[in-house]
C-alpha cells in the first residue's frame, strides 16, 4: 500500500494488527459510534439496533455497507487528509467542440458556482448536452489545483462518461472506479466513479458532481447521500445533474438550500415532445388473446412507414405476448424484444442502432443513457407502478434527439390516468414553458 492511496480516503484495518505504513500525517479514525441503544456507522450513516449487530465481547459492526468490507469496532479507519498533491499540466481542456449560446450561458453559471463551492443543481432536459456544459467548470477547478469527481449511480453512465472526459482532459490521468471491475485504486486529480464508491472517500473533493441523481439506487438511499456529504471537503462544492429532479431536490430548491440552473431546451434548440395519453382499459387481458389497442397499431404503422421506434412495456412477462401480437400485424417488419437480463442485450441494441431492427419492444432498461436518433416512443401500460414519473420523462426524452428530426411522437397507453403519468406531463410542460420563454426572448 502506498500512502497516497489514503489521501482523502479511509481504509479499514484491524486494531490488533500494526498498520504497514508509518507517517506523521497518518490518522486513525473511529469506524462506528456506539450509543446506549444503537450503533451508528461512520462510513454510511446507518443506525442499527445494538442487539441485532452485536458480536461476542461487546463488539459491533454495520450490516449495511458490508460489501465494501465490514466496518466494525474491531477496526479503525486509516486516513490522510487530502493534500491536493497534483502536477497540473499546461493545457487543461483539450475539448474543441462548440457550445450553443444557451449552453454557454448555463456553462458559465455553473463554472462560477463551482468556483464559489456552491451546492447547485443543473436541471437540463434530456438531450440538452449537459456533460459538455460542465467542462468549463471542471477545467477551472483543475487549474486551481482542486480535486474533482464525477459520480453516477449507474455503472453504464460512468462507462459512457469516461472516454468523453478522457478526451476532454487528455493530459490528466482519470481514475475510473466501480464495483464491476477490480481496477487498482489510483490517486488522481480527476475521478469518475459510481456513487457507491463514494463510501470510501473522506473529505477528498473540492468539487463533486453527481450525474443522474434521480436514478436508482441513489435517489432514496440514505447511505449514498451520507457518503456524498462525507466525500466532499467541509467547504467543498456539490453539483447535481438531472433531467428529472425528484421531490427531495425540488424541496431543497424551494428551501433555498440548492441553487438551480435550468436548461429547458435541447442542444438543437427545440422543445420536448409532449406525452399523448390513450386509454386502453384492460389491455393486458386483451394482450393474452393477442390483441393490442387498435390505435397503438395504427400509430405504429404510421411511424414505421418512415421511422423507427421503441415500444416500452412494464414487465419482462409482457414482452413475449406483445411480440406475438405484433408479429401477426407486421409479418414483414424486423423487430425483437429486449430486457435487463437478456444475454443478447448489447447485441440487440447495437443492431437497432445499425438499423437492422425497425423497432424494439423493451422494459424500462432503455429509459436513459441509450440514444437512438429520430425515433418515436410508445409505452403500453405507462400507469404501471414500475414506471416512476422521472422514468416516464426519461422515456419520453428518447424521442426527437437529433437535429435532423428534432420532433417525435410520444404516445402512452394506460389503464387509467394516474398521478405519475400526470406528473411526467407536468414536468415536460414546465420545461417547455421555460423553453418557450427563452426562444421568444
Amino acid at each position: 500500500m502506498k500512502l497516497d492511496e489514503l489521501y482523502g480516503r479511509r481504509v479499514l484495518f484491524p486494531q490488533v494488527d500494526s498498520f504497514p505504513l508509518n507517517d506523521s500525517r497518518l490518522q486513525a479514525l473511529p469506524t462506528l459510534r456506539v450509543t446506549s441503544k444503537n450503533i451508528i456507522c461512520l462510513r454510511c450513516g446507518t443506525v442499527s439496533n445494538k442487539s441485532v449487530v452485536a458480536m461476542p465481547r461487546d463488539q459491533y459492526y454495520c450490516p449495511e455497507c458490508i460489501t465494501l468490507g465490514r466496518v466494525s469496532t474491531l477496526d479503525k479507519f486509516y486516513h490522510v487528509q487530502e493534500p491536493n498533491q497534483f502536477v497540473i499540466p499546461e493545457q487543461i481542456l483539450t475539448w474543441t467542440g462548440q457550445l450553443s449560446s444557451l449552453q454557454a450561458t448555463t456553462s458559465e453559471i455553473i463554472r462560477d458556482r463551482m468556483e464559489r463551492h456552491c451546492r447547485q443543481l443543473l436541471w437540463a432536459v434530456t438531450g440538452a448536452g449537459k456533460t459538455e456544459m460542465i467542462f468549463a467548470g471542471i477545467a477551472a477547478a483543475l487549474s486551481r489545483g482542486e480535486r474533482v469527481a464525477i459520480a453516477s449511480p449507474r455503472v453504464d453512465v460512468c462507462l459512457e462518461l469516461y472516454p468523453r472526459l478522457q478526451a476532454a482532459f487528455a493530459n490528466f490521468p482519470i481514475a475510473l472506479l466501480h464495483g464491476r471491475e477490480k481496477q487498482k485504486y489510483q490517486y488522481a486529480q480527476l475521478t469518475i466513479c459510481t456513487t457507491h464508491q463514494l463510501l470510501r472517500f473522506y473529505h477528498a473533493f473540492d468539487n463533486l458532481i453527481v450525474d443522474e441523481v434521480d436514478s436508482f439506487p441513489y435517489a432514496a438511499n440514505r447511505a449514498l447521500l451520507y457518503a456524498t456529504e462525507n466525500a466532499i471537503k467541509p467547504d467543498g462544492g456539490l453539483l447535481f445533474m438531472t433531467a428529472t429532479p425528484g421531490k427531495e431536490l425540488i424541496h431543497q430548491i424551494q428551501q433555498k438550500k440548492l441553487l438551480v440552473s435550468y436548461l429547458p431546451l435541447r442542444y438543437h434548440g427545440h422543445l420536448l415532445p409532449q406525452i399523448k395519453i390513450h386509454l386502453a382499459f384492460n389491455w393486458r387481458k386483451h394482450l393474452l388473446q393477442r390483441r393490442l389497442p387498435a390505435r397503438l397499431i395504427k400509430e405504429l404503422r404510421l411511424t414505421l412507414a418512415h421511422h423507427h421506434c421503441l415500444l416500452f412495456v412494464p414487465h419482462v412477462a409482457d414482452l413475449q405476448p406483445t411480440f406475438l401480437a405484433l408479429q401477426r400485424v407486421f409479418p414483414k417488419i424486423k423487430f425483437t424484444t429486449v430486457h435487463a437480463a437478456d444475454p443478447k442485450r448489447l447485441e440487440k441494441v447495437q443492431s437497432m442502432r445499425a438499423g437492422k431492427y425497425q423497432f424494439l419492444i423493451t422494459t424500462s432498461i432503455l429509459e436513459r443513457g441509450v440514444t437512438f436518433p429520430e425515433i418515436d416512443v410508445f409505452v403500453l401500460g405507462a400507469d404501471d407502478q414500475v414506471f416512476s414519473s422521472s422514468a416516464l420523462v426519461q422515456i419520453a426524452g428518447r424521442a426527437g434527439r437529433s437535429l435532423k428530426r428534432p420532433t417525435g411522437k410520444v404516445n402512452f397507453w394506460v389503464n387509467s390516468y394516474n398521478r405519475r403519468v400526470r406528473e411526467a406531463q407536468r414536468q415536460i410542460a414546465y420545461m417547455n414553458t421555460k423553453g418557450r420563454r427563452l426562444t421568444n426572448g
Binding site: P14, V16, P63, R70
Partner: protein, 136 residues
C-alpha cells in the same frame, strides 16, 4: 456461508442455526464441542463462526488453539494444511474419561482439523468422538 464467515455478517448465523440444531438433535453425545478459532480471528472476525451456529444449545468450549497462529486455516493451501501439527490443546481435562463427544465445525475442508481434535480427545480418555460439519 461465505457472507457469514468471511464477510463477517454475524446476523446471518440465524439462517444456519435451525439446520444445525436439527442435525445435532439426531445424535447422542455427552459433550458438544465446537472447533475453536485463533485469538487473532477473534480480534479481526470478532466471533467464532461455529459457536455462533450453536447459539441456544448447551456446548463446552473445551479446545483452544495452542499458540497464536498468525495465519488462519482458510488462508493456507491444502498441502500445507495437511502438514500441520496438532494445533489444539485441552482447556480442562477433568471428567472426560469415557465420554462421548460431538465435535462441530462449520466447513469440512481437509478433515485434518477434525482429525487432530479427535485424536486429542481420545488421548485424554474420551470414549467416542463423532463429528459434524455444516457444509463441505
Amino acid at each position: 456461508m461465505q457472507e457469514y464467515k468471511f464477510q463477517g455478517q454475524y446476523h446471518l448465523r440465524k439462517v444456519f442455526q435451525e439446520d444445525l440444531r436439527r442435525a445435532v438433535s439426531n445424535l447422542e453425545y455427552d459433550l458438544l464441542v465446537p472447533i475453536p478459532v485463533t485469538d487473532h480471528t477473534m480480534k479481526t472476525r470478532g466471533f467464532n463462526q461455529v459457536t455462533g451456529l450453536l447459539e441456544g444449545l448447551h456446548y463446552t468450549e473445551l479446545l483452544v488453539h495452542k499458540n497464536k497462529q498468525k495465519e488462519a486455516q482458510s488462508k493456507k493451501d491444502r498441502h500445507s494444511r495437511l502438514q500441520t501439527k496438532q494445533p489444539f490443546t485441552i482447556k480442562q481435562s477433568s471428567d472426560l474419561y469415557g465420554k462421548t463427544v460431538l465435535l462441530v465445525d462449520d466447513i469440512y475442508t481437509t478433515g485434518r482439523t477434525l482429525y487432530h481434535a479427535a485424536a486429542l480427545l481420545h488421548e485424554v480418555g474420551c470414549n467416542r468422538v463423532q463429528s459434524l460439519s455444516l457444509a463441505r
